[in-house]
Amino acid sequence: MSLWGESRAESADLTGRGLTCLIVGMREGVGMAEEVAVSDAVAVERTLAGDRDAYRVLVERHSRTVYRMAYRMMGNTHDAEEVVQESFLRAYQKLKQFAGNANFGTWVYRIAANYAIDRLRQRNVDEARREGPSKPGEDSLEVDPLSQVRDMSPSPERLAGSAQLADRMRAALAELSPAERTAIVMRHWDGCGIEEIAAVLKSNSNATKNTVFRAVQKLRRALTPFLEGKEARAMGTEG
């Protein structure tokens, strides 16, 4: 049924071998990524040998990358930080299952993505139970402090437009199902392959491709009117 070809990524196992997205996400050169992986492997070995401080190196090195993914998934800083902490705790507890020759960064990323999707599902269930159908984007979303920070260059109109766009995007993302949100975050922002996403969603590649497609379709429907309106307004002011 699917028109898409095979993903460029190898299928990923529990050890994190074959996961490529984090390396893409880190935008690092191959050499640098290898160095990090080797240094990670040493830190893992030392942690397993009883040196708890060696784990600190891993936490400090990978926290920000996991945080970026968690923020996009959860939509607010509080939940994102909780996902980061819980993921590193879980990774520590499961460290023995982690083969030393794999990439720790991609492994903890996978743990975080799994935990975040569980949290999103739980949040949806809780919200549905509490108040019935709600309208995301109106009152349920946290206002991102960064969207209100002043930039040095843009005009007030442009600034207002950017803040509005950021709000629209958050509202559109909040409308996605947990699986769709995970799929678009992993595919678009972190460059993960379909097999990697399928492993997190516990689904097959065709269904995962459909989930990615559905997510893009929904985001398009929510954002295009705004983007086209903005473009039209910009053309009007220029002319």
Partner: protein
């Protein structure tokens, strides 16, 4: 000229489409598809501008400060302390006591009345019968909605988002009941639930808006497999079991139906 679909263009943008060269050639020729691709790219461009609050340079250190107290001591080494020579005698004593208690327990333990266990099994079975019955009722509604959806001539796309959301919810439930039925050895029930799960998964994973042809395919599948009929019969069987808990499940009732349908 046949235009490329939205799915193909999104796949192309992600670099994941099979016919990459063909689509690239088509895009050179077709202004309409080029414009469509630009619109898709604009959405991705907008997503790239989504701000993420900077957690600060010291974020990693803060995470460490928060989790370090919860890491505890290395679990792997707990057993090492047992083998300290001074403790070996005490540990040996505890082990002997445990063995003694176990042997004494085997001799003196009163026999648990079989009736209690049988009652517990019955209660469990009854709860399961009610739960599966309700699940089948909800599934029947989803299937009926699809089978009885009114046909509208000239309609280009059929929105099934509502039905889809309910199908998504039912998939997990269905999987759980199927596994339970298998464990309990109720093959007929497991087989019907398996068929249902496949259709529910297809519905849940389809695009929200289906072409009339794609919609018809799902409808035909439900019809050809006689799914609604099977669901109703199994549900009826469960209702009978609910009314008369001592009756055995009607084995092969659905299997017989399958033969009739085929």
């Amino acid at each position: 000229m046949k235009h490329r679909t939205e799915e193909e263009l999104i796949g192309y943008q992600f670099g994941e489409v099979k016919e990459r060269m063909e689509i690239a050639a088509h895009l050179k020729e077709c202004a309409e598809c080029r414009e469509e691709l630009v619109r898709i790219e604009a959405v991705f461009g907008a997503l790239d501008t989504m701000p993420i609050p900077d957690p600060g340079e010291d974020y990693g250190e803060r995470v460490w400060q928060r989790i370090a107290p919860r890491l505890g001591e290395k679990k792997a080494r707990w057993w090492e302390s047992i083998f300290v020579p001074q403790r070996l005698v005490a540990v040996g004593g505890i082990v002997a006591l445990v063995i003694l208690a176990f042997v004494a327990g085997r001799w003196t333990k009163p026999r648990v009345p079989v009736v209690d266990q049988a009652d517990a099994t019955k209660v469990r079975e009854r709860v399961l019968v009610v739960a599966v019955g309700e699940h089948l009722g909800r599934t029947e509604m989803v299937l009926m909605e699809l089978e009885n959806a009114p046909e509208q001539k000239g309609q280009k796309a059929i929105n099934i988002s509502e039905t889809q959301r309910r199908a998504e919810d039912l998939v997990e439930e269905n999987r759980l009941y199927r596994q339970t039925a298998l464990k309990e050895g109720d093959q007929a029930m497991a087989s019907v639930l398996d068929e249902l799960e496949r259709v529910l998964l297809d519905i849940a994973n389809s695009p929200e808006e289906l072409t009339p042809a794609a919609f018809e395919t799902i409808r035909k599948r439900i019809e050809e497999q006689g799914l609604l009929f099977k669901v109703r019969v199994v549900k009826q069987g469960l209702d009978e079991r609910k009314a008369n808990p001592d009756a055995r499940p009607a084995e092969n009732k659905t299997r017989g139906m399958e033969r009739k349908k085929v």
